[in-house]
Symmetry: C2
């Protein structure tokens, strides 16, 4: 097991409704040392990819993107979830359905902050059906930028987001893939090999 | 001038409607080295305050809170702006009006992530009328926690949020206080002294 799988077993909680609560360290209270380890793990995996920009979506993705971008020495940029009055009209947009909240979100990103010569690393805290990642991929495509890889902290492996992205050929690194979880606290992770283990 | 004032003059843009756009480095695209400097400046100001927790509000506040919490070696926690289906019912809440979007937001924070023995440093990227900070202060009060200080990247000094908090006795450190700005690009900062300058 890696550091994140161990932490999920220690502090994660499985709740009714397919909810894995990790809000004591990942997406409400933030364990900064753990976030740095996540950034380091993504760096180990994607360091050969000439990453020029780390892209995520607000809000909890920002906590992953900042230490990751620091490690690569590149800017981070986060897509916003609704059209902001403070954003210029000159935006890339992509409509993404959120199953958590059962609403359509419009992801928006200023055209100034992603370019055709970018090698983009997309990061986020969670992936289930992969809709948010696909929205960010869509935006990269609109910009003509290359998606060099996708780094996810926790993937729900029993949903199809990760499978579809891997089948499409993306370099997807999920630090913990939950293949099964039960409200009695049982969590089964997919076996993976990480460099440095 | 300090590093942030210099950056605002270099890359900030004043727009109609009292908007200071700093989205090329602070709240859309993120300059990680600059965020680290902000965290360091808050550490210099508040290092004697025995800070145990850094508190902010999603989304762009997270980018300020993460490097600040790293520098202090404490957890960060961010309030969410609406009741989330993934949050427990056991929440502190505070209603905050957003003038930017003309809506009432409910700030929510799990009772598990702030305690009566905490010395809290509240941080955010912007302060205008101070409503978000007041909502976070309200939540600290509900928890019985001490507000040890408030660190803001950019304060609009011609609005009354900062004045009211200083008059109420809070230790408010705003790294750049804009006293006047015009759409021709003129920005006047309030003179302040910072340690290390």
């Amino acid at each position: 097991m890696n550091f994140l799988e161990e932490r999920i077993l220690k502090d994660g909680q499985v709740r009714e409704g397919d909810i894995l609560k990790v809000d004591s360290f990942l997406n409400h209270q933030l364990d900064i040392a753990l976030l740095d380890q996540i950034g380091e793990a993504f760096y180990e995996h994607f360091r050969g990819k000439n990453i020029t920009r780390v892209l995520t979506v607000e809000a909890s993705g920002i906590a992953i993107a900042v230490p990751t971008a620091r490690r690569f020495g590149v800017p981070a940029v986060f897509a916003k979830k609704a059209r902001s009055m403070n954003l210029d009209g000159d935006l890339y947009t992509s409509v993404v359905h959120s199953y958590t909240y059962n609403v359509d979100n419009v992801l928006t990103l200023s055209r100034r902050y992603i370019h055709a010569d970018d090698n983009v690393l997309i990061v986020d805290d969670f992936m289930a059906n992969g809709k948010a990642a696909q929205g960010l991929i869509d935006i990269c495509g609109q910009a003509g930028a290359q998606v060099a890889g996708i780094g996810i902290a926790i993937e729900k492996g029993y949903q199809n987001g990760g499978r579809l992205l891997r089948e499409a050929g993306y370099d997807l690194c999920s630090l913990a893939i939950v293949d099964q979880m039960q409200t009695d606290g049982t969590i089964r992770f997919r076996a993976q090999e990480f460099s440095g283990e």
